[in-house]
């Protein structure tokens, strides 16, 4: 694959470490910043990104240009606004943003600068999860270098635009990745999601207009501005623009992450890039885009990994990082593990989520341990429907938690029945 076809990761060299400011510039970095700050109006940057068909890479897939378009237009000098990078990567099975931040932190810095210019935000914040120690060191280093080079600070390139970045090191909790919970956490409160409206674009951090974009989303921006929206849109295979970092974990020969055209078929990702299943293991089912996406089985292998195609198959592209369930691992045990995670990570604000998810976990516990009853399946099914319907809970946490459960109850009905009839797990996960 040529350099131009994997813009996000081309500069990443795990042996040499991240490029410093000079190496980043030699490889084409800061070119987009020169173009934007010298020749483009902020609204033109928004327009270019809209035309590139970039959609949010954090999981929800909202159009990036469209998201920005709701921000009030005043210049940064006249109104306090925030551009926030969501670097709270905590979706189980997802390891793409860490790769980007450790491998090329200046790319994120430049992406943030471009996004901030587009929405005219003077303040940048990277909301980084506390466990990402190496990323923190490298981001701090990159920000210091960018300041030294004049790419951050006052009156960047003599454009009159000023912008700087602060790294907020968080201290855990999955819900902080939800954009309104993230804002609440930044304000020094328990990270409870907020009701919308007001949307962050008009009333976000400390009440100021704010945009929260994922690390991978932001890292695309320098390439879109440098090479144009048509180039970026053309990188995708289907309706979406650009490349996507796809990943596979589980019992495959080569677990990993790869930057590929968005819309690459799932089969190609698993069989060619991940090398197929390990000897002695067969593919049973998979979560295509992280823990909060619905299971699909091998009949979905030929789907394109773009937003619409995965939705058509009954799941979500999510983070694009697939988790494989093999035929020697218990699906009930896997669901129990997943629901333990979601129950633990509920922020506790709304009752259905706070009380419903632990109940689901306990039912799965019982079924796995051999004390489950036939009625438990109905109870799980009711929870999957009740908690899975958006609007029944305060945010998308519970619906996300129910996606693997609802699909799993259908796909693994036989396994559930066997657990209940046989009073325990026939596969006893102990490999």
């Amino acid at each position: 694959m040529s350099h131009a076809e994997r813009p996000l990761t081309a500069m990443i060299d795990p042996v040499a470490g991240p490029p410093d400011c000079a190496a980043y510039e030699r490889a084409g970095g800061w070119q987009a910043t020169r173009t934007a700050l010298r020749t483009l109006a902020p609204a033109e940057v928004v327009d270019i990104v809209t035309r590139s068909r970039l959609r949010g890479r954090g999981g929800a897939g909202f159009g990036t240009g469209q998201k920005w378009s709701f921000v009030p237009r005043e210049p940064a000098s006249e109104r306090c606004k925030y551009l926030i990078a969501n670097a709270d990567e905590m979706e189980p099975g997802t390891f793409k943003d860490r790769w980007l931040m450790e491998g090329n932190p200046l790319q994120l810095v430049e992406g943030m600068l471009l996004a901030a210019y587009a929405i005219q935000a003077g303040h940048g914040i990277i909301f980084l999860r506390g466990e990402y120690h190496l990323a923190r060191t490298r981001l701090h280093d990159a920000i210091a270098q960018a300041r030294h080079g004049g790419w951050l600070g006052q009156d960047i390139l003599g454009s009159g635009f000023s912008f700087d970045i602060h790294v907020h090191v968080s201290a855990g909790r999955y819900i902080c990745g939800e954009e309104t919970a993230l804002l609440t956490a930044l304000e020094g409160r328990r990270a409870t999601p907020r009701s919308k409206p007001p949307f962050p674009q008009t009333g976000g951090l400390w009440g100021a207009p704010s945009v929260v974009n994922n690390v991978e989303t932001l890292s695309n921006l320098p390439h879109i501005i440098a090479n144009g929206p048509e180039w970026f849109a053309g990188l995708g295979i289907g309706p979406d623009g650009g490349t996507k970092i796809y990943g596979v974990s589980g019992r495959v020969r080569r677990p990993g992450a790869w930057e590929l055209p968005i819309g690459t078929p799932l089969r190609e990702i698993i069989e060619e890039h991940a090398g197929g299943m390990q000897p002695g293991y067969g593919l049973r089912a998979l979560l295509p885009g992280g823990a909060s996406t619905a299971f699909v089985d091998d009949t979905a292998l030929d789907m394109a990994m773009d937003y619409a195609s995965v939705e058509k198959a009954g799941s979500r592209l999510g983070t694009g990082m697939a988790i494989i369930l093999d035929d020697r691992t218990c699906p009930v045990g896997m669901l129990r593990n997943l629901e333990h995670f979601f129950a633990q990570e509920s922020c506790g604000w709304c009752t259905p989520c706070r009380d419903g998810l632990p109940w689901v976990e306990r039912l799965l516990d019982a079924i796995e341990a051999g004390t489950g009853m036939a009625e438990d399946i109905d109870q799980l099914d009711r929870h999957a429907r009740m908690l899975g319907t958006p609007g029944h809970t305060f945010c998308a946490h519970a619906p996300g938690a129910m996606a693997p459960l609802a699909s799993g109850l259908k796909l693994f009905a036989r396994d559930f029945a066997d657990h209940i009839a046989g009073r325990g797990c026939p596969l006893r996960h102990a490999a």
């Binding site: 506390g130 304000e187 020094g188 677990p255 823990a291």
Partner: protein
Amino acid sequence: MSIAEQPLSGDLRAEIRALAQAEPHPRGASVAALRLVQAHMGWISTPHLNEVADVLGMSAADLDGIATYFNLLFRRPVGRHVIMLCDSVSCWIMGRERLCAHLCRTLDIQPGQTTADDAITFLPIVCLGHCDHAPAMLVDDTLYGDVDTPTLDHLIDTLREPPP
């Protein structure tokens, strides 16, 4: 008097004040201030929490609501080293339960506890973003992948060496 009961140093209080001043509202520095105390003290004792609340102009209960919300902020003492073994789905598929049992046996503690010699606290942790090298764990600030029992045994020996 143990270190947990001694007042924070003047330098540390000044650092917390600087963090608060850099925010539009002092409470925005809550997590950063608590992390700072923990970095110096190992954990956040109630007297220290009260001091931070005082500097930030918050009630102790309000700040404790934050301290107890975030799992990486410790409101109880921990050992000299903290082992966090991922318990999320990819690591579970790749055999983290076996490693968890091995750690419990070797350290003679359950997850959430500290060894009798105060050397090691063992905690479960959510996905560490190292799923292509599952099972993964974090030991203090260092990320480990493809963890197996020999790696664990070697590491525990190293961590148990008494502090200089």
